[in-house]
């Protein structure tokens, strides 16, 4: 059943019980973006303390892939330095572009999203939250190409 590559238990768990899905009034950084292909929209909030991402949350709506990716992302980047978070964003993109063989040690639950690579049209869904985080952190890298159609 090839669909199990994409709808893994861990993805569905994050979809049904998203972590850190809340607004964050004290956030110093926040950014919103939508995926015009499917209407998904995500806002990411970041609160910094002592140069670390002390709290990261998101709001929005979308498919299981975009929502679970956002949920896992917030867990994966919290506590990291800005530079460290940028590195993770880069490696996650590398995995979704099929260029980097992901290590579970480094990406944790996020490895579950690797199966999405086989569904090219859905890669944008997986990368959306990461685009927004990147923009919130002040750098633009548009690997997902969220162009209008």
């Amino acid at each position: 059943m090839p669909l199990d590559d994409i709808y893994k238990e861990v993805i569905l768990d994050h979809y049904k019980k998203p972590r850190n899905k809340r607004e964050m009034p004290q956030a110093e950084r926040s950014c919103s973006r939508n995926n015009p292909l499917c209407g998904d929209e995500i806002t990411v909030f970041v609160h910094e303390e002592d140069g670390l991402l002390a709290d990261v949350s998101f709001t929005g709506q979308g498919c299981s892939i975009s929502q679970s990716s956002a949920s896992m992302m917030t867990e994966a980047v919290v506590g990291r330095s800005l530079e460290d978070a940028q590195g993770l964003i880069h490696r996650f993109r590398g995995m979704m572009a099929g260029e980097v063989e992901p290590s579970e040690e480094e990406l944790g639950d996020l490895v579950a999203l690797k199966g999405v690579v086989k569904y090219p049209i859905r890669i944008k869904c997986a990368v959306l939250a990461w685009d927004v985080l990147q923009e919130a952190l002040g750098g633009r890298e548009s690997a997902s190409g969220t162009s209008a159609h």
Binding site: Y7, L12, C63
Partner: protein, 416 residues
């Protein structure tokens, strides 16, 4: 049982399906169930053959080649124009401009008529069910001329809300732009009433026929519309075929759209004079082979009979509405198939349309998921996107069953 019902519509669907090579494809070992003809239709062998034959036997540039092949190519190209005019009930072929399709046609009107004749304070009346291609070009024209955009809203059941039409359609209205059939809701709009009301206040009417023409046909003489835009690829023809009907006096008064070869009469250092209509709007080498094959698509539909096409789609749509409702889907748009074409937008339980499309794809079922270039409609009904199944001459009751069966997969995959 289903077979009997299909026969009653006068279309021999089994026979029709044999004309479409792609329908015998399998997807992941499962038969293709193509339910996305509103997006783009499939092509019968007759259309594919017409395009191939043009390239193999007649290829030369139209209107520019003084030799035998050039004459053949020109005759075939202009023959397709005459065929299109006849199919649409247009008075003569010069009222048909070939374009890449509906989007280009509407841009042509918004540019050539809109920028030329709209003035500050004039109003452009649209509807909230217009495709983005019948909104954005008018936003450009409004920005450049100072004209104002107004919108006819929608009722809860997916019809145009015409209660306050008299307030919206006034002597300030210069053009009403309205779809003949919504590509997300399926709604068939009351064109005769709207056109009469618009003309009564001196406004022109542009009909977006992208869905209406393939599925119901249109007669521009009976409708008395001023412009009708249509796409070949949604009615069995090649991509980038199709065009625009416009009343001749409008075409003559309008500015050209693209400048270039063949659209001119004489070129001087500082200005040019233009060719007669419709060639004044056909700059550069056109999609000659595609328009010729578009003519073959018209032949195919005429041989079936547009009344039969309509009856078949009404039956399929009624069946799909019934089965999807039984399955617990939320359906958008009218439930009466007399005012609804073969397009069914829906939400199945809480499954996001993108997830649903991916899961249905594993069962060989191809549907569209997204906002369908209808963001105003999505916003009106409070959803970011919908799943959409749409039907054409080759679809069967069994394919509707396959859709509904595949929906069940969503529950097991997502653990609902």
């Amino acid at each position: 049982m289903a077979v009997t019902r299909e026969r009653s519509t006068g279309l021999d669907v089994a026979r029709i399906r044999e004309d479409f090579p792609i329908l015998s494809r399998t997807i992941g070992g499962k038969p293709l169930v193509y339910l996305d003809s509103t997006n783009t239709a499939q092509r019968p062998r007759q259309v594919i053959d017409a395009e191939r034959e043009f390239y193999e036997q007649h290829n030369a540039n139209a209107h520019r080649a003084i030799y035998f092949l050039g004459e053949e190519a020109t005759d075939l190209y202009e023959g397709a124009r005459a065929k299109t005019a006849r199919f649409l009930g247009a008075p003569d072929p010069s009222t048909i401009v070939f374009t890449r399709g509906t989007t280009e046609s509407i841009n042509l009107v918004a540019h050539g008529w809109g920028r030329r004749f709209l003035k500050e304070g004039d109003e452009i009346l649209l509807t909230e069910m217009e495709h983005h291609s019948d909104i954005v070009p008018w936003q450009f024209a409004a920005r450049d001329t100072g004209a104002v955009l107004r919108y006819i809203g929608l009722t809860d059941d997916g019809l145009l809300d015409l209660v306050n039409l008299e307030d919206l359609l006034t002597e300030r209205t210069k053009i009403l732009c309205v779809t003949g059939m919504s590509n997300s809701l399926g709604t068939i709009t009351p064109l005769p009433r709207l056109i009469e009301a618009a003309h009564a206040v001196g406004a022109l009417v542009l009909v977006d026929g992208a869905q209406l023409v393939p599925h119901r046909g249109a007669n521009v003489a009976e409708l008395d519309c001023d412009f009708l835009a249509f796409s070949g690829h949604k009615m069995l023809g090649p991509t980038a075929s199709g065009g625009l009907f416009a009343k001749r006096e409008l075409l003559e008064a309008m500015d050209p759209f693209l400048g270039g070869g063949e659209m001119i009469n004489e070129v001087f250092h500082d200005h040019s004079t233009f060719n007669d209509v419709p060639w004044k709007f056909e700059a550069g080498t056109m999609n000659v082979a595609q328009e010729v094959a578009f003519g073959a698509a018209i032949d195919y539909l005429e041989a079936l009979g547009m009344d039969h096409v309509r009856e078949h789609e009404e039956e399929l749509t009624a069946y799909a509405l019934e089965r999807l409702a039984e399955a617990g889907a939320r359906i958008f748009g009218p439930t009466d198939v007399a005012v609804r074409g073969g397009v069914v937008s829906f939400w199945y339980r809480d499954v996001h349309p993108h997830d649903l499309a991916t899961i249905l794809n594993e069962e060989g079922v191809a549907i569209r998921a997204g906002h369908h270039c209808n963001q105003l409609v999505m916003r009106r009904y409070g959803v970011p996107a919908t799943a959409r199944a749409s039907f054409y001459i080759y679809n069967t009751m069994e394919e509707v069953d396959a859709l509904v069966t595949a929906l069940g997969r969503a529950e097991s995959v997502l653990g609902l």
